[in-house]
């Protein structure tokens, strides 16, 4: 029975997202929204690791996303296109299909390294310290990019459209959706594995009682830094995807407002619920699009809706439960390794 689990689910979503886009059944706008949903899922799921499972409070996810966005788009634009920033292309366009995923990866690594810089001093003490540091990181990132004139400074950076086009010219395929889809699956896969392993679940123990964790041999400092880097690295990859989706980025795109949206999606879904994160990323992205006709009032309606939701459901959509807890019958197909092991022992 097990083989009908995850692969089937992934296959079905693949069919519904990518094949119609490929065949041209989806308009560009719908493709854009699908990509955006995917990016938001990555961001939400990854931030949930810190703010949900670990119970810390990071408000700087957009900055890490921005590091990834700038790194990967600088790379692709520099290597593959003729542009006003760096001049002629260095590599032939045909390599874009290869360079693009590599640049995403490098963007993620850059974001992870940047987060290490933040994490080392931040996790010395508990409490709201990380919130403060990451808040400052938002300002530092924006201010730093604004001061680098070579990449456009506050005016922003562009040229990623050409890269995407180059890929499409080579092989007509919805590359962005494809890569977004892969990264979404990858993010959920590794985070789910992590939080369901003894090593990863220890971050929940840290949230619950840090001193007890430390005394029960958990290397809390190392674990917190690792989880933070993992989360920020994924945000960096999402940033790379985002930059190539919107094709024009400026420092304000990765400022506090963006961080706030990611936070909202995490808490809307529920702290420590992966399926909640996925659901809330989908709902929130679509909601923002549906409210688009409201123009400025959209930005009034969204927080208002969320405040009302918080008042009626103060633990988010899913609380800390997963979809599996809501539909216990599915457990047969999707339960985690640890649950299976435990059940096997209880039965024997």
């Amino acid at each position: 029975m097990k083989r009908f689990g995850m692969p089937t689910l992934i296959g079905i979503s693949f069919l519904f997202c990518i094949v119609p886009s490929w065949l041209g059944w989806f308009s560009n706008y719908i493709q854009f929204i699908i990509t955006l949903i995917g990016i938001n899922i990555i961001l939400t799921v990854s931030l949930n690791l810190i703010n949900g499972y670990m119970g810390e409070f990071s408000v700087g996810h957009a900055a890490f996303m921005g590091v990834g966005a700038y790194t990967s788009s600088l790379l692709t634009v520099y290597l593959l296109t003729e542009n006003p920033f760096f001049g002629k292309a260095i590599l032939p366009e045909e390599l874009s299909i290869l360079i693009f995923p590599i640049s995403l990866l490098i963007g993620g690594v850059a974001a992870a390294l940047f987060s290490l810089l933040i994490a080392i001093p931040s996790f010395r003490t508990r409490g709201d310290y990380l919130a403060i540091v990451t808040l400052a990181v938002n300002f530092i990132f924006k201010s730093a990019i604004e001061n680098i004139d070579a990449i456009g400074g506050p005016r922003g950076f562009m040229g990623m459209g050409k890269v995407v086009k180059a890929m499409d010219n080579l092989v007509s395929f919805p590359w962005l959706i494809f890569w977004t889809f892969l990264v979404v699956v990858f993010s959920i896969f590794i985070i789910r594995n992590f939080v369901n392993s003894t090593m990863g679940k220890s971050i929940v123990a840290i949230r619950d009682d840090e001193i007890a964790s430390e005394l029960m041999t958990v290397n809390t400092r190392w674990l917190k830094i690792v989880a933070f880097m993992l989360s920020c690295g994924l945000a960096g990859v999402a940033g790379g995807l985002h930059a190539h989706t919107v094709t024009f980025i400026n420092p304000s795109s990765y400022f506090i407002l963006q961080s706030t949206y990611i936070l909202v999606m995490v808490y809307l879904g529920g702290m420590g619920s992966l399926s909640g994160s996925v659901i809330s990323a989908i709902v929130f992205t679509i909601l923002l699009e549906l409210l688009r006709p409201l123009d400025v009032w959209r930005w009034v309606a969204t927080p208002l809706l969320l405040i009302i939701l918080m008042l009626f459901r103060p633990t988010g959509i899913m609380g800390s439960r997963e979809l599996l807890d809501v539909f216990p019958k599915l457990k047969k197909y999707f339960s985690s390794l640890q649950e299976r092991l435990t059940n096997a022992f209880i039965k024997s």
Binding site: S197, G200, A205, M216, T217, V218, L337, F345
Partner: protein, 255 residues
């Protein structure tokens, strides 16, 4: 060579001297008690040994390892298990997860194994679960495996906590007031449990306790702490008759 050697341990909280020139040698498979009035610094001694606080002076050696300056998780990984005055189980995690996570220093797989679900992870998780279940079985806790600790009766929580402290295969077990909040029946069970644990797991037990019934019944040797320094040391009988101890507990007026 003693298992644990604490030498001239002194610690200040700000200007307050909470532990003053504390000395102790524990040998293998001993059962030693630490008693004293509230605020005498007993838990502070435990916290110093575990590395939660940094001593102002003195040295602590465990199995030949110097413990000063190490992180708590390093110290406990060397084989020191402990329980807490106010039970500190992870209440958001099931009993089995509580035990599994205490295996943290013993898991062999690396971070990447846990992210990518490798065979090594599966093997190791199996081993960890096996060990945890065996331990729970010995403590008759298997029926509670999937419960959250906060939903369990108090006595059971205490038992789970002691069980969790044995996960790291300790050679030294620190019990911080295990009988706190227990009724007489539960205390009787606890006394048997501590004796059984000591023999079954071949551990040295170092116990802080207010319940004289526990201390006098099980300890081979007792130290009495008052205002951070040792005022008496000896067998239960010697301690019971020691006038200094009576004075520390009951005040000056008693004659």
């Amino acid at each position: 060579m003693p298992l644990l050697k604490v030498d001239k341990l002194t610690h200040y909280f700000g200007g307050l001297r909470s532990v003053d020139n504390f000395n102790l040698e524990l040998s293998e498979n001993e059962l030693v008690g630490l008693i004293g009035p509230n605020g005498a610094g007993k838990s502070t001694v435990f916290n110093l040994v575990c590395g939660l606080y940094r001593p102002t002076e003195g040295s602590i050696t465990f199995n030949g390892n110097n413990l000063i300056g190490r992180y708590p998780h390093q110290i406990t990984s060397l084989g020191i298990g402990r329980t807490f005055q106010n039970i500190r189980l992870w209440n958001e995690l099931s009993v089995i997860d509580n035990l599994r996570i205490a295996h943290f220093s013993q898991i062999d797989y690396k971070l990447l194994d846990s992210l990518f679900f490798t065979g090594r992870l599966v093997r190791d998780e199996q081993k960890v679960t096996q060990e945890a279940m065996d331990l729970l079985d010995k403590f008759n806790l298997v029926p509670y495996v999937k419960e959250l600790p906060r939903n369990l009766p108090y006595g059971i929580q205490r038992r789970v906590e002691i069980c969790r402290a044995l996960v790291m295969n300790p050679s030294l077990l620190l019990l911080d007031e295990p009988a706190a909040g227990m009724n007489q029946g539960e205390i009787g069970e606890l006394i048997n449990l501590v004796r059984w644990v000591k023999d079954e797991f071949k551990v040295t037990v170092w116990i802080i306790e207010h319940q004289m019934r526990v201390i006098m019944n099980i300890c081979e040797r007792i130290q009495v702490l008052d205002f951070g320094s040792i005022i008496a040391e000896g067998t239960p009988k010697e301690i019971r008759d020691n006038p200094l101890v009576i004075k520390a507990y009951l005040g000056e007026e008693v004659t």
